[in-house]
């Protein structure tokens, strides 16, 4: 279970000043969709959960593990938070093969989520020896999802994973995302500005507007 209750105050944000309050609980096996316009703070929220940004106040907890607590001055660095973050642009490492990318975040000891299973579900077996520059946009995102899963995360964060793809590619990748969520049962936060996409993936949809997270009707 991921518990988030944070405030983010960014008076000098690039697009416009950001004042955000997010409060929700995300149980295992549930996918929470967050919709919002550009600049509403969707990415900022995900980055705060992943530890890439520090919220101004509040608490982030995953199960018994405290990731952030402003009052107790707890701020786990990103590399100590078991988070699988899929970025908008994939961010595959260009000097590594697909397989090396997939293995990058894998722990050395026993893993719940194993490489053959991920490769199979995402249908990326033929890509393993290729470099990211040899992949299409859809293939890159599938590899990025696989890489995030193999990190053995306790929560999966997807930051507009389809935004860089055309409609045809989106329709190709979307079933893989749904299957990943269904198969691994990870609490998943899916962020996008496209309503249909979020509705198709998420069990519950929230709107992020004027700094507030409200359940969509």
């Amino acid at each position: 279970m991921l518990t988030v209750d944070i405030q983010i105050h960014q008076p000098y944000a690039l697009t416009s000043p950001l004042d955000l309050h997010a409060r929700f609980e995300l149980p295992a096996g549930r996918c929470l969709g967050i919709m919002g316009a550009s600049g509403s703070g969707k990415t900022t929220l995900l980055h705060s959960i992943a530890g890439l940004l520090m919220p101004s106040a509040g608490v982030i907890r995953s199960g018994d593990s405290l990731w952030f607590d402003h009052k107790q001055a707890v701020q786990l660095p990103p590399w100590q938070r078991p988070v699988g973050l899929v970025f908008q642009d994939g961010r595959l490492f260009p000097h590594m093969s697909v397989e090396q990318n997939l293995r990058y975040g894998m722990p050395a000891d026993l893993a719940r989520i194993v490489l053959p299973e991920v490769v199979d579900i995402l249908a990326i077996q033929p890509l393993l020896k290729r470099k990211p520059s040899e992949l299409s946009g859809g293939e890159k995102q599938r590899v990025a999802i696989g890489r995030a899963l193999l990190r053995q995360p306790s929560v999966l964060l997807m930051d507009e994973p389809l935004s860089g793809l055309d409609d045809q590619l989106k329709q190709q990748v979307l079933p893989y995302i749904k299957q990943v969520i269904a198969t691994f049962g990870l609490p998943t936060l899916y962020v996008s500005h496209v309503g249909d996409e979020v509705a198709e993936v998420a069990d519950e949809v929230f709107m992020l507007a004027q700094g507030q997270l409200r359940q969509a009707k």
Binding site: A50, L52, P78, W79, R91, G105
Partner: protein
């Protein structure tokens, strides 16, 4: 004309040894300094940057003299090195390494810094979300992606060391078989009435060694780029 005497061969080998050691000695400090200047903002950044680049604008003889004051046998640090460990850098080939390393430092830092600045910091961020500590991120993402800068910096430092004259002769001296590298040997030969032919041979050798170093660097860079594509 082309038969090198054992003495001439020794000069070439000494020059190569000094240049190779110069690169090895510089590698870690140059990478560290380049990273500091490329990625960190701190009070005094501009001053550190200026100090790093000082050898590029100061006359080499001035740097050689400063090294002598600092590391010479009666120098501030040199005296202590000699008294504690019997280490004497002047009139020793390690002195030539230090002199050329000081001269080559800014070249290497500049090349690596440029390459580090081209590495997308978002990739480093991605590595950290995959559990990589800052050290692992640097070693597995940043440095491999900036490898061409390290290579270019190494070749620049090697070439600068091969051509280094002023700081070396001032600090390490011009001792045959110990600190007399190619430029110093050429200079010495031009001072002797009979040395023209030998000087010319060494000049041609200098050019050949430098061209070979540049060709090797281009070959390595091509290989590296191919492997990263």
């Amino acid at each position: 004309m082309w038969n090198l005497s054992p003495a001439e061969l020794a000069i070439v080998l000494l020059s190569l040894k000094v240049a190779a050691c110069c690169v090895l000695v510089l590698l870690l400090p140059a990478i560290g300094m380049a990273w500091l200047l490329a990625r960190k903002q701190f009070w005094g950044h501009a001053l550190v940057d200026a100090l790093v680049h000082l050898p590029m604008v100061l006359p080499p003889v001035v740097l050689g003299y400063m090294l002598l004051v600092l590391l010479g046998r009666r120098g501030w640090i040199g005296r202590w090195l000699y008294e504690q460990f019997h280490i004497q850098l002047t009139f020793h080939w390690w002195g030539a390494v230090i002199a050329s390393a000081v001269m080559a430092f800014p070249l290497m830092v500049r090349a690596i810094r440029q390459a580090l600045m081209q590495v997308n910091p978002l990739l480093e961020q991605a590595a950290q979300t995959l559990g990589a500590s800052p050290a692992k991120t640097f070693l597995t993402i940043t440095l491999p992606l900036a490898y061409h800068g390290v290579l270019t910096g190494g070749i620049l430092a090697f070439s600068r060391s091969l051509g280094e004259f002023g700081a070396t002769i001032t600090f390490a001296g011009n001792l045959e078989g110990e600190t007399r590298t190619l430029p110093l040997a050429i200079y010495s030969l031009t001072q002797s009435p009979e040395g023209d032919a030998a000087a010319l041979r060494l000049v041609i050798l200098s050019v050949l060694v430098s061209v070979a170093a540049l060709l090797v660097s281009q070959w390595l860079e091509r290989r590296l780029l191919r492997s990263q594509r």
